[in-house]
Symmetry: C2
Subunit: 675 residues, 2 copies
Amino acid sequence: MNVAESLKRLLVGRKLASTQLGETLLPKRIALPVFASDALSSVAYAPDEIFLTLSLAGIAGYAFSWPIAVAVAVVMLVVVLSYRQTVHAYPSGGGDYEVATVNLGRRPGLVVASALLVDYILTVAVSVSSGVQNAKAIFPQLVGHEGIWAAALILLLMTLNLRGVRESGTFFAIPTYGFMVAVIGMTLFGAFRILGLGEELHAPTADYTIVGDPFYGSLTSIAVVVLLARAFSSGCAALTGVEAISNGVPAFKEPKSRNAATTLGLLGAVAISMLGGIIWLANVTGTKVIDESSGVVLTRGEEVVRHTDTIMGQLAATVFDGFYPGFLFVVATTMIILFLAANTAFNGFPVLGSILARDGYLPKSLHTRGDRLAYSNGIILLAVAASTLVLVFNASVTALIQLYVVGVFVSFTLSQLGMLRHWTRHLRTEVDPAARAHMVRSRAINAVGLTCTGTVLVIVLAAKFIYGAYLTVVAMALLFALMWAIQRHYAKVARETALDPSETRTLPSRVRAVILVNELNKPAMRAINFARASRANTMEAVVVAADPDAVEQLRDEWDELNPGITLTVIASPYRQVVAPFLAYVKGLRSGNPRDVVMVYLPELVVGHWWERLLHNQTGLLIKARLEFFPGVMVTAVPYQLASSQVALERAVRSDAAAWRRPGSGAVHVGAHLDD
Amino acid sequence: MNVAESLKRLLVGRKLASTQLGETLLPKRIALPVFASDALSSVAYAPDEIFLTLSLAGIAGYAFSWPIAVAVAVVMLVVVLSYRQTVHAYPSGGGDYEVATVNLGRRPGLVVASALLVDYILTVAVSVSSGVQNAKAIFPQLVGHEGIWAAALILLLMTLNLRGVRESGTFFAIPTYGFMVAVIGMTLFGAFRILGLGEELHAPTADYTIVGDPFYGSLTSIAVVVLLARAFSSGCAALTGVEAISNGVPAFKEPKSRNAATTLGLLGAVAISMLGGIIWLANVTGTKVIDESSGVVLTRGEEVVRHTDTIMGQLAATVFDGFYPGFLFVVATTMIILFLAANTAFNGFPVLGSILARDGYLPKSLHTRGDRLAYSNGIILLAVAASTLVLVFNASVTALIQLYVVGVFVSFTLSQLGMLRHWTRHLRTEVDPAARAHMVRSRAINAVGLTCTGTVLVIVLAAKFIYGAYLTVVAMALLFALMWAIQRHYAKVARETALDPSETRTLPSRVRAVILVNELNKPAMRAINFARASRANTMEAVVVAADPDAVEQLRDEWDELNPGITLTVIASPYRQVVAPFLAYVKGLRSGNPRDVVMVYLPELVVGHWWERLLHNQTGLLIKARLEFFPGVMVTAVPYQLASSQVALERAVRSDAAAWRRPGSGAVHVGAHLDD
């Protein structure tokens, strides 16, 4: 235990107190890499997925890459503008879940929560998978083991996140800025070589011809619409992560909302620039990508190629041909930013889980336990779910992307609808003309946002449903049903246990104490003495005569030592202990419903698991059964054997860092005992 | 649960009360088949194993079958005479274990117990395996699946034995007598045909020649001694089961000892007759058996035979040639008696286990729990161990017999040594000349018994050690070590908890009651009211401020409803609940060592396993930790939710038959509460 504990401290770091929360607040320059790496990193795979889908129609399809990039950029712009409204209106960090719950009701709110939980998991799976795919350009030995490596990296991320948000913020800032420099630098350098120096840059795949799927070869109108819808849907992966900022507002430095909105704007500008730059470069240099599983191949004369590097890898090799450090910098920062993108989900998922636990949609014990501010339980759950996905799909981005994006757009759409209601509601009461004008403008922006995200949601669902999105829908439905059931259960319990003010003062009329004894030893004597100290109305020691010889001996000892209370011997014709004792306790109760029976069980506290098998077995059975008897309380009177010291020391060691004497923190409320 | 419960009742039958024990006492005519079937049934495989071992030396080896049979019969006679002394001297049923413990000490007693436990398991495994081997003469489809069938039959026996001893007695009497009739009838009819009618009977294998192992072909003096020792050791399997009667004396009708001694004598006479008859018939009819795994084969001209039926099967076919019902009767009763022999162990093993549990060598909960007189736990343990053996050895008698007999002779030898001491000790004080003469005679018999069984033990160990007996020795040593450790643990605990008479009256000086609350609801109110009824010196409700908003709300409610006691708010800078609460309780204690802290935990009682995940998790953690605090008692105040009704009904159903109101069975001892 000591080693495990030390290891945990080493990995998880020192604990953070609530008052230390201020320390973890993020300035904009740190918040951008922490929360925006998801959206930024998707330029590493969104162009690939657009080109891959279009390649089904052969080289002719590539002509549509520009319009699709523009469409994605427009949607991005609209979503960023919409969320700037949200960040100002709801600075508490509930994000889309809060917006939907407050304005639309609990069910839509829970739909948003389910959607976001699923999409957080997919963000981790897709980003890490894409990171591993990009890493193959440098480490070809990864081929064939993508799933395992992706799972290992997810576990590494989990460990980093269990250490807390601030360390990860600092840790992640440099490579994120490095990625921005790499991609924008590459685009500018490429543009300089082409436009400034007039060079002609040729991608490694520029001389090849794409042999597309014959089905799309003719480019009939229906087929081309379906294909463009799929390409656009995959491209929309670039939009995930925008909502992460709206969920993370409380982590920003003051003024929180304003800083968050600025960061959101920056994110939009940078992401659109990078996406545009890459698609332009790819078109100019004749870059081509194919997906092995789709059957599309590249040909040059007799040569047939079935596998290409990622667009980012090809562009880096083209723009920096002959300058290996430049190539390496682009590929390495791409790899790293993708792992950091997964980190965005590790920030958002546990926060949302904790909020859901607070609202009773998840077990309440998840809300406050865990000894780290970053909600360890949620982090571990996310890591397990994402690892499972990458192992099942062997870290194939093209397969995982089909499940992706649905959740985010469900959340976008419901959130925009909620914002629309929000402004409409506030406009009903607001009288200040300036504020009203501001609200009308915000409502207009959110209305455009709703139309846009709703349309994209329909397109994404239709285009991806049979390719995998149905799995996402099923997962969302299951999560929704589970959380709804948990909430209903808690609500039912709360109703059932709600206090009826008239009952508060009905004290039990009589307390009957029963001490179950087996032998007359120290544990039994301690139980008897403790029971006597509580001054019950009647008190008796009880033994079940399962072993007549032993009981005879006990009676003799009792007469001799006279512990001061009656010993009742219960007959046990079937040599049982539990059933006759329960029947006896039941008989004590039946007289007066306001009577209380207090059962004292002497218990031996031992230090080793195997000692537990040798002691207290009967007591455990009795406790489990007495639970169901109303008006019966069970008091365990522990007797600590010397061997229990081992277990105590183990427990103290693991609690040592956690304990702090409450001191002046204890506050007393209400009347003192009035009788 | 209802179906499972009904099924259990159907299989296990109605429960038996202690007062019904008289009903299960056995008359001699029932006791013989119940306890003696083991020893009798071994004539079904002991001759086979003698002949199989001798066949290694080719046909010349068979000449030694007669001397070996005589040696086994002599040992049998000595053992039976010796045990008649034991049955009279120790009628309580502890058998060899009791004899060794009383006269030699606890360690030798435990050696005997370990040996007997191992041998009971082997009795079941060998008998059932031999039954399956014999059954192959009628059901050839069993070939290749012996292990599975043997395991299935052991489970069937387990079920029958869980129903109780009397049913199995009646159930097993008829086939046991049938077997005696079959074997003795076959021997007499064969003798009549050979001696009376002068016929020449030829076994199916009479015309074949045995090709033995070349190593034994020369019959050098060392090799022949080793071979004869192995053959004799296997033949000694006929002696197992004799001690079963000495363990089973309390199950006999009065006069118990006399009836048991008579049954023992009958058993010896019948077993020796049957063994002699079969070996005579086998020699006269030229019966040959071989073991496939030893490499010995039968040849006739070009023909090579690698598999033969059992001796019993060949003799039945020879003596009753042309009279199929006669053949069928012999084989069928042989098969059945072997399964019944296993039943002997199912009678003895749980009784011994229960005695060992009483003496603290096995978990004490095994002694009295279980709702059937036949000690369900031991029966199940035996069945599991024996099933494992038959599956591992695929029900091969020749393999299992190498492990067998060692335990019984360890037990025989130590028991005879104990009897010798017993008589010597009694002779020191006895003055009546008639009684002294009787004792001297008994001591002489036991001295012969000791010499004889000790010699056989050495022979058996030496002859079988490398062939498998070492496994038995290891198993015995492990069992011994385990039981010794358990006993040491119980003794240590008993010393540690033994009452110091001076302490008996030191009552706690002050009781401080602490009620852990989370919300102000019915469960909390019930806990508060119950705590108030116990009139502690100080009393407070405590809440841990892990969620500041929730605590704020609780304080407001507290002020409004005023439950009559103080609410203490414990600061929790790390948002934990368990650690700050434990620290607070610790702080309450530290003042006065004679103070007692009584912690009341409101608990929700739920009906489904999944509901448990949603409630009481924190309470469980707190209970587990508070165990280690001396002077702190934890009282669970259960609040039964409506859903707990489900679980209650389930529990009541399963207890319904077990519960009987104690009524006049309760006896009160000692003084009434004196303050």
